[in-house]
Subunit: 219 residues, 4 copies
């Protein structure tokens, strides 16, 4: 029966499942709270006017876009977290603490999302947004690094994995940092730059040795 | 032991359970956040007046109705999601992504719910509400289609299932779209039209071949 | 392997667990959202004054009390839900629907809680609060009744169980209804009446035949 | 098959898992709701000004700090809860009730967190914050005590465990209480005193007999 020992929390124990379920709750709440940042304002109460509402929705558009962008980005972090935990053989105390720090950054994201939704043309709002995202990616890397070095991964880890994990997870950090000066010129262009730079990620994947790629895409 | 392989996440693995639990958290939060859109306003603080409060509650009635309608509709989507996942043999990477897009639309629903609750006579508010619902139904169809074509369903899928799934899940899309012009005349009538059109859904079910009906009602 | 059949969702299947997990998420969110209704107001921003804050907290006291009362009441509903699902052998489609209606009333509770917290002396606010609670207790009874009559309970159900379940679960409905006229005189007295009437519940338990009591207290 | 008996809810039963999952949902929501207390104000809508935003963020800094401090403290409570439940053999009815009271204090924490974030220099705000934290630690101790005395712990409990559990869990209560008079001089110093006093906790751990320490650090 899998359980909690001095070596850590084994995969398939109730305690392992609890860590995963708790993390998912944080992810789900952060992703759903984002919608509370969307709102229409400046409308007379019980307004029935078509043009008034169209105007108000146009003003709410940046908030809807920032909801969509954040849901997309946090969703990708969730997929990575999901994949990462499926590779773990067990968790130790340090993984628990690092995972909590990682989740703190995830739980913080509704704030910069609301900020960029309300002040979509403000470069400082964009900097807070980009730095928050970069911080999540960086913490992700810290958690991966610990798991690899503490031998928590399931068997069959290919050699050279850390080099490629660092490249694949470090790449978003670089993208977010690079987008900051663009944000001082134009915040929309800065967000678009994230999507424009995405193909480089595919290029990184393409250059991976087959066994590393197979390990990363184990589903 | 069920697990994550190159072919996807097998049913009964911890990872399959995680996807389901994460989806449920998004559903539950979206359904419960709806209540935050209900509020009384225009009342003097600490008012003890009976008629003042009765008046304020009357003004809050459209918000309470839109809470109830949304809880009902999202509840039906949850039932469909629950049923659908009980039919899956495994999930692949694409199902994960499509499911996240589907959940983004679910997480978005508190916004149109609040909008129609605050501006219950505004046709544009109703259009946003109806289009959001149609988008969820459409994404549902996209997820079903992928699962069927990628062979992710458990054995015993009857022939002709896709024709009927398309009909059963596409029907709400049609209802929501059809209600939009009605919304420009009267928004209450438009919401009522959803319930008036429901019997057509029962008629569709009645015409299904027995083996398809049996498959759909496997509980 | 327990699963979903034409007879319903068997206990110990992944689908049974999903219904329970989804219900718990609704409970947990409703109970935690209650805290958002607490707030201090009328304070100058960044106020450092001791007496100002003491005054503001005194004004927030009814909100803190209504948070505590609601958390207590919803917590008791959760305990009952927990106990009830531990007695089920399987769930059918109707249980799913009735459970969703029950959860809609649970998800609605933050609204009357906020109302009574803000307008603690308003009899109408109290009526909404008491009726909402009575509605939850009533739906609880409807779900129990269905499970009993559809034969969904685990073996060993004692004769006469329904008579006593009706008494035990119907009692809170009576208490909430009885407290409504008291609320028109004094809302604090009305809430206190709930706790004053509690011992009658203990008296009901005491008169139960031993096998019924044993069944109810199976943990 | 583990189940619910007259002696309580056994570890590895679906009901035991439900209690844990429900607790985690409360923890996760309380920790994530904290972010809603952060906000910028006093900014003209759609402001693009760099210095305006920098100013507004500076004003939001105490809220960000109180988010971080609360996330850290509640995170530590979650770790303790996680550890504690991994040591339980079964739960009885009283554990369920005490756990609910404990969770009520956890769910309450976003209120004092918001208070100290908005009125970071107000000693009364700090007192509410410190007392809330002390209340959680105290309830933690009450739950531990009950589990120990009711014999709910898994085998291998070392003698003298209660003395050390009381010391380890009672220590934060003392820290929070001690910080209150400091809060009347300076609230920032009072929060810092929590971290300054932390090493005493390490010193307590160091003096534990090896078998007690081993039991506490079983992962």
């Amino acid at each position: 029966m899998p359980q909690v020992t001095a070596h850590g929390i084994e995969r398939d124990s109730a305690e392992f499942a609890r860590v995963v379920g708790f993390s998912d709750a944080i992810f789900a709440i952060a992703m759903t709270l984002l919608v509370l940042e969307i709102g229409v304002s400046g409308l007379p109460e019980d307004s029935g006017g078509i043009s008034d509402m169209a105007e108000a929705l146009k003003d709410a558009l940046p908030q809807i876009v920032s909801f969509a962008v954040s849901f997309y980005v946090i969703g990708r972090y969730w997929l990575a977290h999901h994949w990462f935990f499926s590779r773990l053989e067990r968790i130790d105390r340090r993984t628990l603490s690092l995972n909590l720090v990682y989740l703190a950054f995830i739980a913080f994201l509704p704030f910069p999302t609301g900020l960029i939704g309300d002040y979509e043309e403000n470069p400082i709002a964009f900097v807070v947004f980009a730095l928050s995202m970069a911080a999540v990616s960086l913490m992700e890397l810290v958690v991966y690094r610990h798991a690899l070095h503490a031998g928590l991964l399931r068997s069959g880890v290919p050699a050279g994995i850390w080099k490629w994990a660092r490249l694949a997870s470090g790449f978003p950090v670089a993208v977010f940092i690079v987008s900051i000066p663009i944000g001082f010129l134009n915040t929309t262009a800065a967000i678009l730059s994230w999507f424009v730079l995405s193909p480089i990620g595919f290029y990184i994947n393409k250059r991976m040795p087959p066994e590393v790629l197979a390990y990363f895409s184990r589903y």
